[in-house]
């Protein structure tokens, strides 16, 4: 069992957004779909430990984001749909910060940067285009030794070459490093990459 939800619910004010009584996901690449506003990003933010929720989420059978906050966050990485970073930081500052806190292998990080052709990391993020920012957030999500990587709309604003590279990373990390993925995307995820399909409908997650 990779991740398990028990009596999970998420509210914004008094409005219930999600309610997942019981859900178990095995190791794999899970494509999470749903209409706009269904709660996909909200769910990913909760699982990433960025946003609070009721109930429990347990990783690998024992690691809880509330009881083991540091260990959990070392094993769960996340790339937002519309990433935001302090405007004065450079890409290098962020890569160094994530490498240090997520105990990343410097060689692997250098490979990620080279494969996405990111030669603009000395500049502050305020000067990045949305595609450049997206590439940076994806590199940061693949930095470290995560058991689970959450990718919220990873393909938007990426060019064709970068899309191909990111798909290759997903496949490599899954097969070589046993990393699982939950990916939200309105674009089709290739059949060979997708081991499970999830749908958010009527405030809950259904396995298809």
């Amino acid at each position: 069992m990779m991740i398990e939800f028990n009596h999970y619910s998420k509210y914004y004010g008094s409005r219930e957004i999600l309610n997942i009584p019981d859900l178990k996901l095995d190791r794999g690449i899970h494509w999470l779909r749903g209409e706009n506003g269904a709660g996909k990003s909200t769910l990913l933010r909760s699982v990433a430990g960025i946003s609070g929720f009721k109930g429990t989420v347990v990783l690998n059978g024992s690691i809880d984001p509330v009881k083991h906050p540091v260990e959990y966050r070392r094993k769960v990485n996340y790339a937002e749909a519309e990433p935001l970073f302090p405007p004065f930081l450079s890409g290098n500052d962020l890569v160094q910060l994530f490498s240090e806190t997520k105990s990343a292998d410097p060689l692997r990080v250098a490979t990620l940067l080279r494969e996405l052709d990111m030669n603009y990391l000395d500049d502050p993020v305020s000067s990045y285009s949305s595609g450049m920012l997206k590439k940076l957030s994806l590199v940061l999500a693949f930095t470290g030794r995560a058991d689970l990587i959450l990718l919220d709309e990873p393909l938007i604003t990426l060019d064709a070459a970068a899309t191909h590279t990111v798909m290759a990373w997903i496949e490599t990390y899954y097969t070589r490093y046993n990393t699982s993925f939950i990916i939200t995307s309105h674009q089709e995820i290739p059949q060979n990459l997708c081991t499970g399909r999830l749908l958010i409908d009527k405030k809950t997650v259904h396995i298809q």
Partner: protein, 369 residues
């Protein structure tokens, strides 16, 4: 054209008055009070017309005395330059970027007209004062200075609008490398330094105002009441005043963390460490006040202020997100803590504050919406 005026009104005029409500209210209430009615002592000795003349002395001075007229125009000039800068900064916000490829499709003359209406909307308080002055000038037979005032005001609006139209029709300027970005490139930036760097770049005015207000209040407290207070009271009241002066900066710090450091909550860094780093941020922000208080031997005021600010911050994290509610909360707490000083229980309150702020921080750090 009407649609564009409406959009510009919604984006710029409304947000300008919202963002500057407190400053405008204080300035124009003070100025306006004396402008429309300067109180006259022993007015029973004056005839009705003399009394009216003295009541309107400031308005009459502006339309009759070149020096006053110049002062008035200098204020107007500063106001318009600041307003222009505010509009241009707001234009560069990503969600307003659409104006660069929609508003400039109109003929330049129409753009100029819409921008002039926007500038006039922002300069409305000055236009009201001007209209009132002109009526008084006509009644009292002054013509040359009022004509110059009208010409200068209208020219100011036209120039402001022309600058905006030019800005709107030029290519979107590239983002320049900021002060922290250019000088600290490649240097390590720990968590406690993040808000300091952000404030240096985006909030220099707010920082300066907070520091100036805090130092001014400490100065007045020391020279007006210093002799009547014991060390405990001076430390405690100074801490309260420093906290109050920095409460808006604290609101901005919390907003910065919520928006730009959201990603940090996914990093394997314990909430304890983040709490300590936040405390360190505030120690550094309050250093100028700490030095000023230290020079008056009030060594305890700085740590007390840090504790109070951490408490305010914890309350902000727990769900108070809009400034109005936060402002009422700060005022209420100021009164409660001031009473605690009077009844010699400030120390007890501080211990409660640090416990609550730590518990709230642990509870809400990973629980933000």
């Amino acid at each position: 054209m009407i649609k564009l005026t409406h959009v510009l009104y919604r984006i710029f005029i409304r947000s300008y008055y919202r963002a500057h409500a407190s400053q405008l209210l204080i300035f124009f209430t003070l100025f306006g009070m004396y402008f429309f009615f300067t109180p006259v002592l022993k007015d029973s000795l004056l005839s009705f017309s003399e009394r009216i003349y003295h009541n309107l002395l400031l308005a009459i001075a502006i339309v009759s005395e070149p020096l006053f007229a110049l002062l008035y125009l200098a204020f107007y000039l500063v106001f318009m330059v600041r307003a222009n800068r505010y509009i241009r900064e707001l234009l560069l916000v990503p969600q307003n970027g659409f104006l660069f490829y929609s508003a400039n499709s109109l003929a330049k003359s129409k753009q100029l007209f819409c921008c002039a209406l926007t500038s006039a909307g922002i300069a409305l308080p000055f236009l009201v004062f001007l209209a009132f002055s002109l009526v008084i000038a006509l009644i009292n037979g002054y013509y040359i200075i009022p004509l110059l005032l009208i010409a200068f005001t209208v020219t100011g609006i036209i120039i402001n609008s022309a600058v905006l139209v030019k800005f709107l029709n030029a290519p979107v300027p590239a983002v320049s490398v900021s002060f922290p970005g250019s000088y600290l490139s490649g240097k390590r930036k720990p968590l406690f330094s993040m808000f300091l760097l952000y404030a240096a770049e985006k909030l220099p005015g707010t920082c300066l105002l907070s520091k100036a207000l805090a130092l001014l209040l400490i100065f007045f407290l020391y020279y007006l009441f210093g002799a009547d207070m014991n060390s405990y009271q001076f430390n405690a009241v100074s801490a309260l005043l420093v906290t109050l002066s920095n409460s808006y900066l604290l609101f901005e710090e919390n907003r910065f963390n919520t928006i730009f450091l959201r990603f940090y909550r996914n990093l394997p860094v314990s909430a304890n460490r983040v709490f300590m780093q936040t405390g360190l941020t505030w120690v550094l922000i309050l250093l100028p006040e700490g030095i000023a208080l230290g020079s008056r031997s009030a060594w305890w005021a700085l740590p007390c202020s840090v504790v109070l600010l951490l408490f305010f911050r914890a309350v902000l994290m727990s769900g108070i997100q809009d400034f109005k509610r936060y402002f009422y909360f700060v005022l209420l707490l100021f009164v409660v803590l001031f009473l605690a000083v009077q009844f010699n229980v400030f120390g007890v309150f501080l211990v409660i504050c640090i416990i609550i702020s730590y518990r709230f921080f642990l509870k809400f750090y990973f629980d933000a919406a």
